[in-house]
């Protein structure tokens, strides 16, 4: 997906610093893969063993990380993915992303305690709020309908009982 916006080769080299971060992360993953593979035992009479594949993958990962770092230094710039609702001309909106992640994390923490019918509703309303909706009450109602509805759909329709949480006995 390329959106050619007429950039010329004569521009000064722009370094995408975040790409060094990606290269570092890839290198760490590669190293961890190698270290982890060293701890495996090769069984007697097993000519290949469980180590070979991780060794190859880990080594390749480190190599790719180095290549990426080199490319970055030479001015290789990542092109973000385009899409229907994506406006790549604006700077990334980290506040919205942070709010969304927080809402998703709250769901992870409380889903077993409160149950999906409750956290699901909060998840929907919370995400809509984070994305800029200002009709909180309506979002909560829609969320509640979705989460209770999906709970019943799984329970009755699919025979998959999701834990009801604090609403046990009511649903």
């Amino acid at each position: 997906m390329t959106t050619a916006n007429g950039s010329n080769a004569t521009e000064p080299i722009r370094v995408d610093k975040a790409q060094y971060g990606l290269a570092a992360a890839l290198a760490l993953v590669g190293i961890y893969t190698l270290v982890d593979a060293r701890g495996l035992n090769v069984g007697f009479g097993d000519p290949v063993g469980p180590r070979v594949f991780p060794y190859v993958i880990g080594t390749a990962m480190i190599l790719l990380a180095v290549l990426l770092a080199l490319a970055t230094a030479r001015g290789d710039v990542a092109e973000g993915e385009a899409g229907e609702d994506i406006d790549l001309t604006s700077p990334p909106d980290w506040v919205t992303v942070g709010k969304l992640v927080a809402v998703l994390l709250l769901n992870v923490l409380f889903v077993n305690v409160l149950g999906w019918p409750v956290t699901g509703a909060l998840l929907f309303a919370g995400c809509a709020w984070a994305l800029g909706s200002r009709t909180l009450l309506r979002d909560l109602l829609v969320g509640a309908a979705l989460s209770v509805g999906s709970w019943y759909f799984f329970y009755v329709g699919l025979d998959v009982p999701l834990p009801p949480g604090i609403l046990d006995g009511i649903l």
């Binding site: 997906m1 390329t2 959106t3 975040a18 990606l22 890839l26 961890y32 893969t33 982890d36 593979a37 495996l40 035992n41 090769v42 097993d46 000519p47 290949v48 469980p50 594949f53 991780p54 993958i57 790719l64 290549l67 490319a71 990542a78 092109e79 973000g80 899409g83 229907e84 609702d85 994506i86 406006d87 790549l88 990334p92 909106d93 980290w94 992303v97 969304l100 992640v101 998703l104 992870v108 923490l109 889903v111 699901g120 929907f124 309303a125 995400c127 994305l131 800029g132 909706s133 979002d139 969320g143 979705l146 989460s147 759909f153 329709g157 699919l158 025979d159 998959v160 999701l162 834990p163």
Partner: protein
Amino acid sequence: MDTLNLLLDGMANALTPENLAFAAIGVLLGTFVGVLPGIGPAMAVALLLPITYGLEPTQSFILFAGIYYGGMYGGSTTSILLNTPGESASVMTAIEGNKMAKKGRAAQALATAAIGSFVAGTIGTLLVAFLTPWLAEIAVEIGAASYFAIMLLSLVLVTAVLGSSKLRGFIGLFIGLTIGLVGLDLSTGQARLTGGILQLADGVDIVVVAVGIFAIGEALWIAAHLRRQPIDVIPVGRPFMSRDDWARSWKPWLRGTALGFPFGALPAGGAETPTFLSYVLERRLSRKKEEFGHGAIEGVAGPEAANNASAAGMFVPLLALGLPVTATAAVLLAAMRTYGIVPGPTLMTDQPELVWTLLASLLIGNTLLLVINLPLAPMWAKLLQIPRPQLYAGILFFASLGAYAVNQSAFDVALLLVFGAVGFAVRRFGIPILPLILGVIIGPLMETKMREALDLSNGDISGLFNEPLAIAIYVLLAIILIAPPVIQRVRGAPLVPRELDEQETRR
């Protein structure tokens, strides 16, 4: 005609009222989800996977067949009515389709897309029915070494040939391969890359990976760059075509099908190339060349047919070899595995009823798609006006629900978030997603075959080269990798056809 009889048997299985209802539900759900902006077919299938949990394998496959074609069709509706295509396979449809819509011919664009998809899907599925048994018969004879070579070939093709940057392609592939390593080693039972976390011992559920990377990653990425001003949605009436539209559409449909199917069936992955080729071909053959770029119906009919034909073609390697070549195929493979069904050469003989019912339901789903969706098009178009906060909140809701429902464990939802972060990073850094997903699925298969081959040769590396087919594939692989740069150097010009360049800059 043995195949025809088997297919008719499959029809009989699929045509019970209950199964027809499942097919209809699948088509409706698939189109519904596929029309929503930001959701491609792979994500539609991944998001809808949980609703099949309580069903029998046959019924869930019928449901999937509907979802699959519905999702494909929904995607093309979106790209015709909005200016920006959701996935790379719809780029070509969007060029002419959106121009047509702007000239008030949205109804004709949607009609030629729908009927073209039907024609291509039907021919494609019939070809799958005839080719798969034949290929499976040959594939039974293939040894582990050749299997390994085939998988390597398909990964390299997807990674190095498609996409703009080889480096990024390989980064995606190896991220996927690393994810595929997580879990117990199959032959020695030792934990790999689990970091001591018990829940990871069984490996990472591919549903969680796919939903995390497609749904959560996409939603977070969109949240970071949300278009604040609403985009224009073009209103549409009931799709229909005039006699002239028919006359201009039927040849592009057939040519698109002929281009799309082989690309889908070969492990060259994806509908991007055939849709592009079809567009170029139609422009060259058209008697109204001046209309191209201003809403030529051939430019919608051809690429749409190519897109759907390649979507059908992908079932050949999936069913006959157990080899997924697109992201959607990878998710389908994962879905089959949850039922303990392992696609591969023996599937046709082990569970013929299942395969033939699946193929028959693909044909039925395709027909239902046409019957249901032509009248419903105005309603689908309204979906594009759902306010974005609620739309993406809904996607995050269903993604979380899907991951939670797999094992009813909060750990899976946390894992989903982790893959969501990976999905976000991958989009930020322009790393292609297809090699990543295929790496997760094909990586473990490759390791199994490699160890099988080397066990036989007692660890000697020659075990990977002891079959003529394997050697032939390695030669082919070398040619594919070495030839383009060499030719480029000899000719002193980029290998990319001029028309491709024109297109790229015009967008």
